[in-house]
């Protein structure tokens, strides 16, 4: 007998421990104080299609349940006497497991069906009423932004299929909007459609439509006087802060106020041109291949290979759905790399996360708990990297309460591309009129609509979240990567880009600038379900899609290749030289815009920036015993080992891992090194710097971030002189307004940070090859505003000439001499040491760029000569912390005499914990000591200690003992502090 819908439940066989269920049980106790008697997780599948009872049994046996470890039921519910909470996706959300089930059923039965996955959490406990269970469902088991749930009390379990089908009872239509209206009506249009366009921009658009030439042409094409919704949405996307970086390109009047401030005033025409682009222009490195104009920057590595690099943020979505937000973030930046030049193969991922404090119970209303955000984000990154097969080689986690409402998720990818294929440079895209626009990858749904304008909005509330949050599909993405790279090598396309924010509107619209126009055929786009309006098809940000520019004669080959890889592909438009962005839905024109107006029409913003110097208080009381301070620092979240997170990421896949995030048992690395081309001895070092703690002077924050990133890269063995960097600015709203009275100060902080970025990059001769900004990291609720501290991430990549010569951070052998490189100064402002005792303090690290620019190349050469046995940069927690980490990593004792180091202070606490930039701890073989000193001649290098035969970590100043601890005790503190 055939059914229209059926359901299959799967559970572990009795006696087999389910670690997932054990974890849920522990969290129920942690969050609600109830210790369940039993918790079980049931996987459920609901199938819509003609499946007989026998077939359902067969599917349960062969497809859904493991023959050894699981059992299934196709007739009745498991755990009918428990509270059952069934959690499934909302209609339209990506259901990867459901999609795989559909494929598996096709293999097994040869039938096309619909399949949906859900989870049943079966809880046995004495709950007072279903309200408690509702709280557990809402706060722990489900995320209401993406999922729905149903609670069945004991004895009331139903065995109904859960079928979250999208049924849109809607005939697609292109609307027309009259723009010849008042200012307030213009503003209302922008607001009600979530366009994020300012009044000035709306007026610009209004004026465009009022032009007689525009009117005449529209009349000729059968269009009305107003704008179509497709046009208005495309303009809003193209002009959005997310895509256009209006703040970075604004005209800014900058001034300074405050005691002891010289009161500098200047006019800046575009932060980007003035500070970022100009730095790269001034530096002029021969290995720079492509900067700023593509999805990622490209540098040359050897005569055959280039690398492409890009770092993105995915902040707003990660606040609402941490797992989906982080997952789509990492997959999105992979696509940026796949869409750089003619396409690069992702070979390394980087992620830097900023969270609120894990222990904080009070988060702003409407926000998820920090622990939940952290767990979800880590899982998203794990799936995004591990499943696609890209090693996660470098990252960090920064904790500060300012990130509680708005976590930051930076995701970066390094790609490898041959410099040329068949004589054609791969950095160059080329589009001629007549080439077809072919979309490959996933289908289009309502997901992600307004992502570009949403992240450009002034606030984040959950009201409009439903459509902007989405879940990535790592496996579809992997298939797309495989297919695009094979097509590239076969020469099947002439340009490629990703579909990120703004969807087809952005991808085809931007590529069309190369030919001078395009047509898009919206009715030819593969849809997940019918009922989408034309503008939704154009703007949808459904994931895992790339756009290729394909000469007509190669279309068939592209389609065949797509079939082989199991990837959807469709020709959805054509590149032209008409000067028009011309969108069709069937035979009807639904948008006709001048390319120039679409891309260049947005008016330049004019903004004011005022910097005010603040007075910063140091902490009140500091501990008398420095051993206590060191222990406190090693356990503090920004310093403690991140091993718990790191081990969940795959750092070995692709087989070229050389410097892992953790070496030996637990030694922390300053960055990562991989050999992307197996069989060659060069490697790529990836490192970063991020120091939001110096936010009160963002010029110094930027200098320190660049210095930290360079220091880390050099410590990893990258050659100083063969580095490139990327900037990622995550800022609170820097535009002054009634709700944002200090916007002008935040803008001034942005100006100063960009200036610092410029000065440090130029001093180190390091080109800035790509960057990104995320400008509205604020959260408004009940009249309160929660803003992040301005946060700059600097990522550095560099070439390692021979990976076999690099060193890790751990001390190696008893008797090895230890050197301290660089100068220690009284620079405790913003330090972890002051922070641990509740203060900030004046005197942030000033960064001596000149001194460092002499030290770094010497260290690079010493490493390349194989003279360095261990090297570790000195940063968070100062010299004492870095020294302890070197000893912990090696499982050895070590001693240091501070009076011997290069220093400009004699204060014990400062010598131990000051965070002056430009410093390293190095150990060498006794026999290499002289050679090392010779290689470092003329720099600030002092021999100041040695590796001990016992297990004590000892630091003295002029013979006085300041630190004396057992290395295993320190290791337990540092390694055990952070788990969530």
């Amino acid at each position: 007998m055939g059914n229209d819908a059926c359901r299959i439940e799967v559970r572990p066989k009795g006696g087999l421990r389910d670690p997932g269920a054990a974890s849920i049980s522990a969290q129920v106790y942690e969050l609600f104080g109830i210790r369940p008697k039993d918790v079980a997780i049931v996987r459920a599948y609901s199938i819509c299609g003609s499946v007989s009872d026998e077939e359902a049994e067969m599917l349960g046996r062969e497809l859904f349940a493991d023959a050894v470890s699981e059992e299934f039921s196709a007739k009745e519910a498991f755990y009918p006497d428990y509270w059952r909470v069934e959690v499934g996706f909302l209609p339209g959300m990506t259901d990867n497991e459901g999609n795989t089930a559909r494929e598996g059923i096709r293999d097994a039965l040869g039938k096309e069906v619909e399949a949906y996955s859900s989870r049943v959490y079966a809880l046995s406990a004495d709950f007072d009423d279903d309200a408690v269970v509702g709280e557990i469902a809402k706060k722990l088991l489900a995320n209401e932004v993406i999922q729905a749930w149903k609670i069945s009390p004991p004895g009331e379990a139903a065995f109904e299929p859960y079928l979250p089908r999208v049924e849109l009872d809607h005939a697609p239509v292109a609307g027309e909007i009259d723009l010849q209206v008042s200012d307030s009506e213009l503003e209302a249009i922008s607001k009600s459609r979530t366009l994020a366009l300012s009044l000035e921009e709306m007026r610009e658009i209004k004026a465009h439509y009022a032009k007689p030439s525009v009117r005449k042409e529209r009349e000729r094409m059968g269009l009305g006087k107003g704008a179509t919704d497709v046009e208005l949405e495309a303009l809003a996307q193209s002009w959005s802060e997310h895509c256009k970086h209006k703040i970075f390109n604004a005209k800014i009047d900058y001034s300074e106020e405050g005691e002891g401030v010289e009161g500098r005033a200047e006019r800046i025409d575009s932060i980007f041109k003035t500070y970022i682009q100009s730095a790269t222009d001034e530096i002029r490195k021969p290995y720079v291949v492509s900067v700023f104009r593509d999805n990622g920057g490209i540098i040359r590595i050897d005569h055959e290979d280039d690398i492409a690099v890009k770092v993105e943020t995915h902040n707003a979505p990660s606040a609402l759905d941490p797992y989906g937000g982080a997952l789509t973030g990492i997959l999105g930046v992979n696509r940026d790399i796949l869409g750089t030049g003619m396409g690069a193969k992702p070979v390394a991922n980087i992620n830097v996360l900023c969270f609120g404090m894990l222990g904080d119970k009070d988060v702003p209303k409407g926000c998820l708990s920090t622990r939940r955000i952290a767990r979800g984000v880590v899982r998203g990154i794990e799936h995004g990297g591990n499943m696609v097969g890209i090693p996660t080689v470098n990252g960090s986690v920064v904790f500060d309460k300012c990130y509680a409402a708005r976590p930051l998720v930076y995701a970066g990818t390094v790609g490898l591309m041959p410099h040329a294929i068949g004589g054609r440079e791969t950095a160059r895209k080329e589009i001629r009129p007549g080439y077809l626009a072919v979309m490959v990858g996933g289908r289009i749904g309502k997901d992600g609509i307004h992502g570009a304008t949403f992240s450009s909005q002034q606030q984040l509330t959950t009201g409009i979240a439903g459509s902007v949050v989405q879940i990535g599909d790592p496996i579809t993405q992997k298939k797309v990567i495989d297919m695009v790279l094979e097509a590239r090598d076969l020469g099947l396309f002439e340009a490629v880009t990703d579909n990120g924010a703004g969807g087809l509107s952005s991808s085809i619209g931007e590529l069309a600038q190369m030919s001078g126009g395009c047509e898009v055929w919206l009715d030819k786009c593969p849809l997940k379900y019918p009922g989408l309006d034309p503008w939704e098809i154009l703007l949808s940000e459904s994931q895992e899609r790339m756009t290729l520019a394909v000469p007509e004669g190669k279309l068939q080959a592209v389609m065949e290749l797509a079939r082989k890889h199991g990837v959807e592909a469709a020709a959805v438009g054509k590149f032209t030289d008409s000067g028009k962005f011309h969108i069709f839905y069937g035979k009807n024109t639904v948008a006709l815009l001048d390319m120039e107006f679409l891309h260049e029409g947005a008016p330049q913003m004019r903004l004011k920036a005022v910097w005010r110097k603040k007075i910063l208080m140091p902490p009140n009381g500091l501990p008398a015993d420095h051993n206590d301070a060191l222990a406190a620092l090693l356990a503090s979240p920004n310093i403690a080992s991140k091993e718990w997170v790191i081990r969940q990421y795959d750092h070995e896949v692709q087989g070229g891992s050389a410097l892992k995030p953790l070496m030996g048992e637990c030694a922390p690395s300053d960055g990562g090194v991989v050999r992307p081309v197996l069989g060659k001895k060069w490697g790529i070092a990836v490192a970063h710097g991020i120091c939001p703690k110096y936010v009160e002077d963002s010029y110094l924050m930027a200098l320190n971030a660049v210095d930290e990133a360079v220091r880390n890269a050099v410590a990893c063995g990258a050659r100083f002189g063969y580095l490139a960097c990327l900037d990622n600015f995550s800022w609170p709203d820097p535009i002054k307004g009634p709700r944002n009275p200090d916007g002008d100060f935040k803008l001034a902080q942005l100006v100063r940070a960009a200036r610092g970025m410029h000065d440090a990059a130029v001093a180190y001769g390091m080109p800035i090859i790509s960057g990104k900004d995320s400008m509205k990291n604020d959260y408004y609720v009940d009249g309160s505003k929660y803003s992040i501290n301005p946060t700059l991430l600097v990522t550095v990549v560099g070439k390692v000439e021979d990976v076999g010569r690099i060193a890790s951070s751990d001390f190696k052998e008893v008797g090895d001499p230890i050197y301290v490189l660089g100068t220690t100064r009284l620079e405790m402002g913003g330090s972890e040491y002051f922070g641990a005792y509740g203060g900030v303090g004046e005197g942030m690290p000033s960064v001596n760029l000149k001194e460092n620019a002499l030290l770094y190349p010497a260290l690079s050469r010493a490493i390349e000569a194989g003279l360095v046995r261990s090297v570790h940069d000195v940063s968070d927690g100062g010299l004492a912390t870095a020294f302890a980490e070197c000893a912990i990593g090696g499982g050895v004792g070590a001693e240091l005499e501070l009076s011997l180091i290069s220093k400009e202070t004699d204060e014990d606490a400062a010598l131990l914990f000051s965070e002056s930039a430009g410093r390293f701890i190095v150990s060498v073989r006794e026999k290499d000591a002289f050679k090392f000193e010779k290689a470092m001649f003329g720099t600030k290098v002092k021999k100041a200690g040695r590796v001990r035969g016992d297990k004590r970590v000892v630091i003295r100043n002029r013979g006085n003992g300041l630190i004396n601890k057992d290395v295993y005790e320190l290791k337990d503190i540092w390694r055990g502090a952070l788990k969530w």
């Binding site: 670690p19 050894v68 990867n96 497991e97 097969g389 496996i475 081990r647 087989g655």
Partner: protein
């Protein structure tokens, strides 16, 4: 002499074919990366090879259980070809996700398409990346592990806990020395976390069939293809890519026995 020629499967989320093919070539064999779809479309192409490798990855996202859908697809689409391949004395190796597929297809520990053992969620409940030490069973008929006593390799999986369907399966495996390698701790113990990274019964990391020519393991030998892969290489100078020994063994067997 027969030249060793490996088909390295790819596609649908398999994600280690590049380094696996490299490992074969660096060990003296030929390797071709072939999409699973191509094999299903014409299973006969398998005859051109004498070594089939199912590399690591997350085929079909491990939805419905690791490698479950890949196992079904291969069994439905190329089952007969696989039977013939194994029957003619050729070699099959499954690494990580590929091992899961072999087990779930019912090709290990007995290649008769009946599942007897499984690999399920790690006891820790987490995906973990860490290096482990393997103790090799010198009495095992496994051709891949010949002459190796201990081997350090990375594991990178969330579903590697080896669970047999019953006592008799374990007894058969013990009796025939089908347990080719086990995780081992510093004291020789096979059950202590994290040396046994996933809670596998008896520390089982890899098994073979009675002929020793079908072999699967959770750790990744292809990821130890160079001395700089080992996490201790910056301390002890490192040894060559020791993971390649398994590939060299396979190639040696093909060259001398086929």
């Amino acid at each position: 002499m027969v030249r060793a020629s490996a088909m390295v499967l790819d596609g649908y989320g398999i994600n280690c074919p590049y380094e696996t093919a490299y490992a074969v070539r660096a060990s003296g064999g030929e390797a071709k990366i072939v999409h699973v779809g191509e094999l299903i479309a014409s299973p006969k192409i398998l005859e051109e090879y004498n070594l089939l490798i199912l590399p690591g990855g997350f085929s079909f996202g491990d939805d419905l259980g690791s490698a479950r859908v890949l196992a079904n697809r291969l069994r439905h689409g190329a089952g007969e070809a696989l039977r013939g391949f194994i029957g003619s004395g050729k070699l099959v190796m499954g690494i990580c996700n590929g091992f899961q597929a072999l087990v779930k297809m019912g090709l290990l520990p007995v290649p008769d398409f009946r599942q007897r053992v499984t690999l399920t969620y790690n006891s820790s409940g987490k995906f973990e990346d860490r290096w482990v030490r393997l103790a090799i069973n010198g009495k095992s008929p496994c051709v891949f592990t010949k002459g190796i006593e201990f081997l350090d390799l990375p594991v990178r999986h969330g579903e590697g806990r080896f669970v047999p369907s019953g006592k008799e399966v374990v007894e058969e495996m013990l009796g025939k020395n089908l347990i080719a390698c086990q995780y081992i701790g510093p004291g020789g113990d096979v059950n202590t976390y994290p040396y046994n990274p996933n809670g596998s019964v008896g520390g089982i990391a890899g098994i073979c069939d009675e002929s020793g020519r079908v072999f699967g393991l959770m750790p990744h030998p292809e990821a130890y293809n160079h001395f700089t892969n080992h996490p201790l290489w910056t301390r002890n100078g490192g040894k060559g890519g020791e993971g390649l020994r398994m590939f060299r063994n396979a190639i040696g067997h093909i060259e001398s026995c086929l």
